[in-house]
């Protein structure tokens, strides 16, 4: 039985999808209709009790949280495709460090921008201008740290591309596209070069081609 990823058209599931494609792992996707509230129905909650996407089913095995899925896939298929966890325990420590930075520090302000700029009208809540401004300032300060770091390191965890870099792809794709703040990336020389590099990887291009939100 082939691994299934639920909710492929949304951003967080794409962390899992790009990892599967990088590692050459076969999989199927199952659409989840968020607009119809499918994610709050008992059938979906049995797979992901918080009612968010993605959920992954691999035979009898179930796992959710996109970054946990990334780690699972990268470890299980360690011997095929690029080694997205690094070679040594120490390499992996750096990968984990920047994966956690993405989750705890980069993602929260970017999520605010995503919700309030892209989805407020669709989801039916008022867009908070003050929050948008504060979130952009916070994200800017974070990107300044990235700029300094990437001037000394080709990728986040070192000289190899890893889960830490890939984890940034889906929401940064929103930032430079529909959110309309590409300058936050482009105006930073090393962040811009890093973004061009990771977003031009064939696995990411394939992810976008196949699973972009239907227009």
């Amino acid at each position: 039985m082939v691994l299934k990823v639920y909710g492929p058209h949304f951003a967080s599931p794409k962390r899992a999808l790009v990892t599967l494609i990088e590692k050459g792992v076969p999989f199927e996707t199952v659409p989840v209709d968020l607009m119809k509230g499918e994610h709050k129905q008992p059938a979906y909650l049995a797979l992901q009790p918080f009612g968010t996407v993605p959920a992954v089913v691999d035979g009898d095995y179930k796992i959710f949280e996109s970054r946990a899925v990334m780690r699972y896939v990268a470890e299980k298929y360690r011997s095929q495709g690029p080694d997205l966890l690094g070679k040594t325990v120490e390499d992996r420590g750096q990968v984990e460090q920047w994966l956690d930075v993405e989750a705890t520090t980069f993602h929260p302000p970017l999520l605010n921008l995503t919700l309030h700029i892209m989805f407020a009208s669709v989801m039916g809540f008022p867009s908070d201008e003050k929050l948008i401004k504060e979130s952009e300032e916070k994200l800017s300060a974070v990107l300044d740290v990235y700029e300094a770091h990437l001037s000394k390191s080709k990728y986040l965890a070192g000289d190899f591309v890893s889960l830490a870099d890939l984890a940034h792809l889906p929401f940064t794709d929103y930032l430079v596209g529909p959110i309309g703040k590409a300058y936050m990336i482009k105006d930073r020389k090393h962040v811009s070069a890093w973004w061009d590099d990771i977003s031009s990887r064939p696995a990411w291009k394939e992810t976008l081609e196949k699973y972009s939100f239907p227009a």
């Binding site: 009790p49 946990a68 325990v89």
Partner: protein, 210 residues
């Protein structure tokens, strides 16, 4: 050479790492970073942790920050020593990872602002706190369900998934005055009582000397 942990023993995120060291029987040294004088934002410290947060560790040539990443590293490196915190198989580890992510993305995102407001802000935003409590209620309902059929979050054994919650849970039960959210839930209450009775946790509480 002994690993150095930069931070404050009373601060939540350093406690995550200290608890991991204590569970694994790893020797360590704490280098106090004075959060009250914003030492963590000074240039010398920013070289260690560019976001100006605690903790950071230095272990010979290895430097790491992000308490969960540090915990994962040591739990992996010392897999055969002390408490097994990552499960025995890849599949078990992934479930531990899943619930560690849940702590970061669902639990901490509400508990952190709750604690900052209730405990550390003189005139806090009452409406925001009420909103956050509603969110925390929903998250704890999921935990209550999970812990009805599992002794610990990731299954039958204590793991990093449980450990990573402990500093935040301590605030909930103490300074934040939200203990009733825990005691009113039979399984979450049982889980907290069991994990906070662990010797490593008691040792950490001794060190913190609240």
């Amino acid at each position: 050479m002994v690993v150095k942990l930069f931070g404050q023993i009373k601060a939540g995120n350093p406690q995550r790492v200290l608890l991991c060291f204590l569970e694994k029987g790893i020797e360590f040294e704490v280098i106090h970073v004075d959060l009250n004088t914003f030492e963590q934002k000074k240039p010398e410290y920013l070289l260690r942790q560019p976001f100006g947060q605690v903790p950071a560790i230095e272990d010979g040539d290895l430097k790491l920050f992000e308490s969960r990443a540090i915990s994962r590293y040591y739990a992996t490196k010392y897999a055969d020593q002390g408490t097994d915190l990552l499960g025995k198989t890849l599949e078990q580890r992934a479930i531990v990872e899943q619930w560690m992510e849940v702590e970061a993305n669902y639990f901490n995102v509400v508990v952190l602002p709750l604690v900052i407001n209730i405990v550390f802000t003189p005139k806090f935003d009452v409406a925001l706190v009420e909103e956050l409590k509603v969110k925390l209620d929903k998250v704890l309902d999921v935990y209550e369900n999970q812990l009805a059929t599992n002794r610990y979050l990731a299954g039958a054994e204590f793991s990093l998934a449980d450990l990573t919650h402990m500093p935040g849970m301590r605030y909930i039960m103490n300074e934040a005055g939200l203990g009733s959210m825990i005691t009113s839930r039979e399984n979450v209450n049982r889980w907290w009582n069991e994990i906070s009775a662990r010797p490593a946790w008691k040792k950490l509480m001794e060190m913190a000397a609240y």
